[in-house]
């Protein structure tokens, strides 16, 4: 028995190459074309991988051919950078993938769901047999353990998620927070949507073009505010997201000071994603004001990533332990089975396939 993983990912291929192999192939078509005993296709925006079990060794080209979108085009035409992992290396690779150690953004949460979805989609079709079933079940367990016992998923790494994380650290529940969008840019809209997804219900939009403000307000379920009324809104709101095209700062300590006197016990969180900045940076020195511009948001995201990178070694240790345990348990189980069936054990085949 050969356990293998053949694939492409952001580490080895560009988007165009990934697109070429992320076609209409299914686990069933791979089973048929490559003559595998079991197969599972994991396809995300950053990777295309086939996990398979076979009696005899299946070549990388065979798998590549079954993945190719345009059958008339030979994979050798542009030498796709496929990687191949076998036996315990394959086990380790899957555990790393499911735990988001192999992801473009280390520790991201989507890969776990994508892996689970890929597994669920073929579980009932028969493409996945006992080996892959056990392998993927263990991979999900490992991924959960890695997330629970390390800080690998800690911190936010995009503008929207950093804004949400920080807002939650300041206000706790966001359901009572009032948000003002000043300017109707794309990133501020995305940030607003991220806040709405965490419970914000009072959203106001102000823009130089009132029509655009109305349009965005309608899209995000908020209400439009005339542009000359936004300073007055600062008395009521908790979060201000600015992204106007103003050449000079719209909000300065002089303008904010009288407003803050009326809201001494309520913090004001300002996310300034405009370039040039809409808010004078010295505003951050005012009591109760937390100002984040695009640089500081990037810095927070980098700190989160650095924190995640620090956790890689701890996560790898957990994975290594599980790889050893999984390979041992599989080989023991198969050894027992082989005594009665006289089939070769997986341990032997795993060793044999470590080429």
């Amino acid at each position: 028995m050969n356990l293998f993983c053949i694939g492409l990912s952001h580490h080895t291929a560009n988007v165009a190459t990934l697109e070429h192999f992320a076609g209409s192939a299914t686990a069933e078509s791979i089973l048929r074309d490559a003559n595998c005993a079991e197969a599972l296709l994991l396809r995300t925006c950053n990777r295309v991988e086939v996990y398979g079990v076979s009696d005899k060794r299946i070549s990388t080209d065979d798998i590549a051919r079954s993945l190719t979108r345009k059958l008339h085009r030979d994979p050798h035409d542009f030498a796709p950078p496929f990687y191949r992992y076998e036996a315990d290396k394959c086990v380790q690779h899957l555990f790393r993938v499911a735990s988001a150690l192999d992801s473009m953004v280390i520790g991201e949460s989507e890969i776990f769901g994508q892996t689970k979805k890929a597994y669920e989609s073929v579980r009932t079709s028969g493409a996945v047999g006992p080996y892959l079933h056990r392998l993927f079940q263990r991979a999900f367990r490992v991924a959960k353990q890695v997330r629970t016992h390390t800080e690998i998923a800690r911190g936010a790494v995009s503008v929207g998620s950093v804004a949400v994380d920080l807002a939650q650290k300041i206000f706790g529940k966001l359901s009572d927070c009032k948000v003002l969008l000043l300017g109707a840019g794309e990133i501020s809209e995305r940030t607003a949507r991220a806040l709405i997804s965490r419970g914000v219900s009072d959203l106001r939009v102000s823009n130089r073009s009132f029509d655009r403000a109305c349009e965005l307000a309608q899209a995000v379920g908020g209400r439009a505010v005339p542009f000359d009324e936004w300073p007055g809104q600062c008395r009521e709101i908790d979060i201000l997201i600015t992204s106007t095209a103003s050449e000079t700062p719209l909000l300065t300590p002089g303008k904010l000071a009288p407003i803050l006197r009326e809201r001494l016990d309520r913090p004001l969180f300002i996310i300034d994603i405009a370039v040039p900045r809409d808010v004078d940076p010295t505003v951050n020195q005012m009591e109760g004001v937390y100002l984040y511009d695009i640089d500081s948001i990037r810095s927070v995201a980098e700190q989160s990533l650095a924190l995640r990178r620090q956790q890689v070694a701890a996560a790898e240790a957990i994975i290594a332990e599980h790889v050893t345990d999984f390979v041992d348990s599989i080989s023991q189980g198969l050894s027992r089975a082989s005594q009665s069936t006289e089939h070769p054990s997986l341990e032997d085949s795993l060793r044999a396939s470590e080429l």
Binding site: T150, E151, R154, G155, L166, Q168, K169, I170, F171, G172, L264, D265, P267, N284, E287, G288, Y290, Y292, S296, S299, V300, Q303, S304, L307, Q310, Q311, A314
Partner: protein
């Protein structure tokens, strides 16, 4: 014998401190069961110590500065266990344990465990007055700890430098709510303690009365400023730390005076 129990208790709290310090240094702090269990165990040994000491004295064991420190440390741990889980401030244990360790280590090392030559008779009002005042001090200590947590969190948010601990600290709003509640609890208990002092049947030393009323006025001023929204939350948090430092100093003065002029 009872001192050994206290050493074991201190070791439990110290274990929580060491574990937290190591985790913070490695950048992998996670509030877990270990800290809470270590504090619970430390509290159990504290209670055992106070029980043995109280049994030997035949009264509430707050007859000298040593016992006052231990009783205060016990109050801090007790209120933490009541408040921590209720307000989901699990990280408070990481901040509470160092204070308890400091109080108990000072009590164990300093030559302040001076036994009274004659056995002091029990005075229920005096014991109630002293013990309820110390429990109030425990609430003020926790408010001080929540204040430290608030300032740590606030500083990280202001400077945009987020340490691993940032992700485990409660939101500023939750911390401020906890500070306010702890201040009110402490103030109510302290008021009760001061009032009960007038029922002891004996005139209290003037220094003690002035010091106690001074602490009461300090916390009354903080609460009034908070109630009227004169102060920003950050300043209230800072005042909680300052207030407890002053209160602790005055407590030493009050206990020292009481040892000099023991009431019957």
């Amino acid at each position: 014998m009872d001192r050994y129990i206290l050493i074991v208790s201190t070791t439990c709290f110290l274990a929580a401190v060491v574990r937290t310090s190591l985790a913070l240094r490695a950048g992998v702090f996670r509030p877990g069961r270990f800290n809470f269990l270590a504090i619970v165990l430390g509290f159990v040994f504290q209670t055992a110590f106070l029980s043995i000491r109280g049994h030997a004295l035949g009264r509430c064991p707050i007859t000298n500065l040593f016992e006052v420190f231990i009783f205060l440390a016990w109050s801090v741990a007790a209120i933490y266990m009541l408040v921590g889980p209720a307000y989901r401030l699990s990280l408070m244990g990481a901040f509470t344990a160092p204070l308890v360790v400091a109080l108990q280590v000072v009590a164990l090392i300093a030559p302040i465990d001076i036994r009274h030559p004659a056995k002091l008779p029990a005075n229920p009002w005096l014991e109630f007055h002293a013990s309820i005042s110390l429990v109030a001090y425990g609430a003020f200590a926790l408010a001080c700890i929540a204040g430290v947590m608030y300032l740590v969190q606030e500083r990280q948010l202001k400077t945009h430098r987020l340490h691993s601990i940032f992700y485990h600290l409660p939101p500023l709003s939750d911390l401020f709510a906890a500070i306010t509640r702890l201040l009110w609890w402490g103030f109510a208990l302290y008021t009760l303690g001061i009032l009960s002092g007038f029922f002891t049947g004996h005139p209290l030393p003037r220094v003690q009365v002035v010091a106690a009323i001074g602490v009461w006025l300090l916390y009354a001023a903080i609460l009034q400023a908070r109630h009227l929204r004169w102060l920003a939350p950050k300043r209230v948090a800072a005042l909680c730390i300052l207030g407890f430092s002053v209160a602790l100093t005055l407590l030493w003065g009050i206990t020292f005076t009481a040892e000099m002029h023991p009431l019957p």
